[in-house]
């Protein structure tokens, strides 16, 4: 169990994803008590935009043991406005480009649950 992170993944999985927004409009991911960009302590859960844009991606050929059966796979950083997410892209490597639009979902089970991106 990882308080904060698990609830975040549950919310993304059910289509109600959120991020933490401070009074100055900075975004970050839970668990946090302080905005990492400005130190503001007043953080509110704000709806995650439905669509993100791939900022950068890589095709991982040499994985950790947890992903031994997945390689090669694509992991990307995608921009969802005030916050960015890192996740695996559920698409073939040659079908992914910087600037592609994706939506966020959740893949894996138990300890391996993580953000995944579905092309739109």
């Amino acid at each position: 169990m990882n308080d904060g992170h698990d609830e975040f993944l549950d919310a993304v999985e059910s289509g109600d994803g959120y991020y933490l927004e401070c009074e100055n409009g900075h975004g970050s991911l839970p668990p946090r008590m302080v905005c990492p960009h400005c130190g503001d302590r007043d953080l509110t859960e704000t709806a995650l935009p439905e669509t993100g844009t791939i900022d950068s991606y890589t095709v991982v050929h040499v994985p950790t043991p947890a992903f031994a059966d997945e390689a090669p796979y694509v992991t990307a950083v995608a921009d969802f406005g005030p916050v960015r997410l890192t996740g695996r892209v559920l698409a073939d490597a040659d079908a992914v480009e910087i600037g592609d639009e994706v939506s966020a979902s959740v893949g894996g089970a138990d300890e391996s649950r993580s953000v995944v991106f579905e092309p739109r």
Partner: protein
């Protein structure tokens, strides 16, 4: 306040020594440094030691006192952990302790045992230098994280795999003749481009190897050096450290390393130098793109200009700013916790004139070492200068 002198340095061979414990490796490097310095171990007042993955690699925590014991030193000893910048961070603390008068003689160094794990296990151990919840669980490996930075760099500034290959070629060429280096052989651009992919756009030859090894140095105050008539003409005249968000996705930009910029600004101001004064640099090229980001971050090149520095001959050993004359992490090897102080050892040797590449920089007086942790969520920069 006096700048500490580097009285002696020691390195093991960097490479594959799967049966050697880190205590054994550090003993070799530490004793070599003490012998090089001509300092009595009984005079050592502290050991500042860097290590990253000791618990995973050999089920050994609390390595500070173990390492002091290994070199016959009976003094307080502390392990510093800052991922791949572990011994850079240890060095900074040692420099500050000599400067503030708390100690006259310190041993600083680091060690890492890595090749006793298989590649997947090492990949996992290194990955925890990234954010476990949000990056590692999303399948991001350490090469994968630098690949994201490389892809973002290409997208923003241009550049190609050929440009990165030129950096690998340069650093391999520099390692030829370095008895401590893991790879003492040249490669070609074609070799690099034809190698298997690790994480696009980075191939096998864009990545540093998995390495066992240790490094050490003896730092002394000016007064101790004078009293004991030590041959210690190189001083650490500047130290700086920078920090950044842990996860790449929380950074302002993926293709910049502001932690290195902050560390360099602080270290250069501390030493009273500017980039133009620097004769030679050792930078943290765990991946070829990392060398580019380091040189741009420290202000040697504008953003987007560092990618072609090796191809243009600026950073080759006969260029205006020779970079990684040791072979760098790329060819010399990267025993994670040992790397920061190994850069200090190489630069000291270059500035003393007893380095295998000294002939290429015979008038060098100012050297800079850049050591980065993780995807540069931490960074240290140190300035070394010839005194006298």
């Amino acid at each position: 306040m006096t700048d500490p002198r580097v009285a002696g340095v020691g390195l093991t061979h960097f490479g594959s020594h799967p049966a050697r414990t880190s205590r054994d490796l550090f003993a070799e490097a530490g004793l070599a440094a003490l012998d090089d310095a001509g300092v009595d171990p009984a005079d050592v007042e502290g050991v500042f030691y860097g290590n990253f993955m000791g618990e995973i690699a050999e089920h050994q925590g609390h390595q500070g006192p173990l390492m002091a014991e290994a070199i016959g030193v009976d003094a307080p000893a502390t392990r510093y952990e800052s991922a791949c910048a572990s011994s850079g961070a240890a060095l900074r603390q040692a420099v500050q302790n000599v400067r503030n008068g708390e100690a006259d003689v310190l041993v600083v160094g680091g060690a890492e045992r890595m090749t006793n794990l298989d590649t997947a296990e090492t990949t996992e151990a290194l990955a925890i230098a990234a954010d476990d919840l949000y990056e590692v669980r999303a399948g991001l490996t350490f090469p994968g994280a630098y690949a994201l930075m490389a892809a973002a760099y290409f997208d923003e500034h241009g550049g190609s795999r050929e440009d990165l290959a030129e950096i690998a070629v340069k650093n391999h060429a520099n390692a030829v003749g370095n008895e401590h280096a893991q790879f003492q052989r040249e490669i070609t651009v074609e070799d690099a481009l034809d190698a298997p992919m690790v994480a696009n756009p980075l191939g096998l030859y864009d990545a540093c190897p998995i390495t066992d090894g240790a490094s050490a140095a003896v730092l002394v105050s000016e007064s101790y050096a004078a009293e004991h008539d030590l041959d210690a003409g190189v001083a650490v005249t500047g130290t700086g450290q920078g920090g950044d968000k842990m996860a790449l996705h929380d950074r302002e930009a993926l293709a910049r390393t502001p932690a290195a910029s902050d560390a360099a600004d602080e270290a250069f101001a501390d030493a009273g130098i500017s980039t133009g004064d620097v004769d030679v640099a050792e930078v943290h090229d765990c991946f070829t793109i990392a060398e580019v980001l380091a040189l741009e971050g420290m202000g040697f090149f504008d953003e987007g200009e560092g990618i072609s520095a090796a191809a243009d001959g600026v950073t080759t050993r006969d260029g205006d700013l020779p970079v990684n004359l040791s072979g760098g992490l790329k060819a010399k090897g990267h025993p994670v916790g040992a790397t920061g102080v190994s850069q200090l050892a190489e630069l000291t040797s270059i500035l003393r004139g007893d380095h295998h590449n000294s002939e290429h920089v015979s008038d060098a007086r100012v050297g800079v070492a850049h050591n980065a942790g993780g995807t540069v969520a931490s960074a240290t920069v140190h300035v070394l200068e010839v005194q006298e």
